[in-house]
């Protein structure tokens, strides 16, 4: 078997290619963004087209507290990573735990909102177009938050087992990219559902 060994024009060129993890995650984020785009377009297109009530302005209230929870979790995960990079595993675990708590608080907020809408306002996914598009879009996002929380929790378990240290920072960072993406999607969903759509 011959492998081309060549007298290259410039000998010993530097050869640095990007890491696989972040590139793969950017691609996944692009695919997810395309999926969310379609749901957001559907939501915007169907604003005000429901044949029957309830309408968004009658039943939706702006979830400011839970939005602050989710968005600040982007900050806490950033600090956690910084600590992991400098090798402070215990502080990393605390900030990481705080991230999970904030994410879980957001999910709890969505759950209580849905409970209110279903039991008090009588809005389900079958009720009208608003219900269909609202539960699909917010539900798709909540699903992504759930997946993110499961992944974050896995890292936390490994941290408590003592298996996470400084050298894993790059891998953990790939997960944090996903978490930031989920937060950014919420900014869009929040704007479309609670501001434009109301």
């Amino acid at each position: 078997m011959s492998t081309p060994a060549l007298a290259t024009p410039e000998t010993d060129i530097g050869w640095n290619l990007p890491e696989r993890g972040p590139v793969g995650m950017y691609c996944l984020i692009a695919a997810e963004a395309a999926i969310f785009t379609i749901f957001v377009v559907a939501y915007i297109f169907y604003i005000g087209k429901s044949a029957t009530g309830p309408q968004p302005k009658d039943v939706l209230s702006v979830p400011i507290f839970f939005t602050i929870c989710l968005l600040s979790s982007s900050l806490t995960i950033h600090f956690a990573l910084k600590l992991l990079r400098s090798g402070k595993v215990l502080s990393f675990a605390l900030w990481w735990l705080l991230t999970i708590v904030l994410g879980a608080a957001f999910l709890a907020g969505t759950a209580s909102e849905w409970r209110h809408l279903i039991y008090d306002e009588g809005l389900t996914i079958q009720t009208n177009l608003f219900g269909t598009t609202y539960y699909s879009l917010v539900g798709l996002h909540a699903f992504h938050v759930t997946v993110g929380l499961l992944a974050l929790a896995t890292v936390l378990i490994f941290t408590f087992l003592g298996d996470v240290n400084k050298q894993h920072a790059e891998r953990v960072e790939v997960l944090s990219m996903y978490w930031h993406f989920v937060d950014v999607v919420w900014v869009v969903v929040f704007f479309v559902v609670y501001i434009v759509g109301r």
Binding site: M1, T3, P4, L6, C27, F39, A51, I125, T132
Partner: protein, 558 residues
Amino acid sequence: MSTESIAWPTSGTATRRPFVEQLHEWVSTVDHKRLGVLYILYALAFLLVGGVEATILRIQLIRPLNHFVSPQVFNRMFTMHGTTMIFFVAMPVLFGFANYLVPLMIGARDMAFPRLNAFSFWMTAFGGLLLYYSFIGGDGLYGAGNAPDVGWFAYAPLTSKTFSRGHSTDFWTLSLLVSGFGSIGTAINIITTVVCMRCKGMTLGKMPLLVWLNLVMAVLVVLAVSPLTAAQIMLLVDRYLGGHFFDTQAGGSAVMWMHFFWVFGHPEVYVLVIPAFGFASEIIPVFSRKAIFGYPVMVAATVCIAFIGMSVWAHHMFTVGMSSNANTFFVLSTMAIAVPTGIKIFNWLATMWGGQIHFKTPMLFCTAFLFQFLIAGLTGIMLGSAPFDWQLGNSYFVIAHFHYVIVGGILFTLFGAFYYWFPKISGRMYNERLGKLHFWLFTIGFHLTFDFMHIPGILGMPRRIYTYEPGRGWDIWNLIVTIGVFFQAAGVLVFLGNLLWSYFRGVLAGSDPWDAWTLEWSTTSPPPVYNFAKIPEVASRRPLWDLKHPEDPDWHYE
């Protein structure tokens, strides 16, 4: 990286290992070459199935008022034919070649994420099985089996519970959802592989064109298959949870589905044709004994096609009745895409011009591709103008046009690719005589079928009718079209026979039977599990040329 310690079966000389052991190796493999071969074999099996379905359709239409199959079966057959050929033949076979060739061509030992690669293949595979399970389980508890019959683009509200009872449509949407995850996974893998795994010296401007084109294809898959996934989720919400996305009676919009489907559906054409361009861009230079003409322009044109290709989808919807502004936009964007495509055709012609052309089977297929793809593009421009489309939309002219693209363009280069890389994959040469027989049978059959299919379309024959009355002037054309199908079927059987015979009896090929220039020909045929004993280093677009001609290397000129 692959953790396997098993070498490829060097056909003939190796000691036979138990069948179960070999099966286990194939099922649990994460090697990009084996997964590539699995993709290709899987697609070939479905090519036969989809071909049989097409033959059933054409036998039914061979003469007016024929009773070969019932209208219901006819509807199921054209739905299954379209869905199978696009999602379970064309995409898997192109992914298979991408899987096999991209790491070899960039001097890598495997894809970036080998386990994701295996996962993606099995998702695609089970997606296909799920679709065909509908023959058994489609009607669910209601009665006997029943395949989906909503057409391959499954327009609303035909897919609603009211009009599609039973589970046949659920099988359709679930199988596309599942295989869509597989496609997205593979696309992510291809992009990451190309970005992160290139061997030393292979800058973006020195990648083989096939790698470039597969990179663009993968980007398109990420951006185009994801909307289809979203639309399938919406359809599932409608069918299972009682949602109203496409329920016109509750204010939902059927046109919304059309937009979502074609936002996927048109870029999908480019997902299929861009890797086919990649095959042509590797085969034509090697058999013309010249470097590709206008490499940077080829790359730019490809990116341009992908970019414009994302914004032409509604030319599938002129007959729906859009605003004149929308019509104008989509007519102009559709016309614009002819420019980069034309550039590519001229580049291939310029590559052949003045070259020493060897008309081996792969080159024959690529030459026919050039001619046929040009005609497909011309009828595409005709249909891309809205007034013409209002006249001929949904007629057999449209069917003839897109089969000219998919068969005359994509399948022809694909056959070329099969013959070109068969020696690398199997280690043996194919039979040139059978290859030429396949080419001529298939070319004659193709032109009988799809040239003459334009005419009943112009005469007003709509697509998807299960029969027609005599005396409309369609009879003779349908007869000729169906006769062509048998030539094509014979060609495909010769092709499969050739592959089988050559795999066992072919002459040993050696590592570089074509005197080619890209890295896959520098390793043995078939390549070892690790591809390259020493990771190569390149200095130009044709590393093997540099190796064979140290007195006049390419990097002097690039």
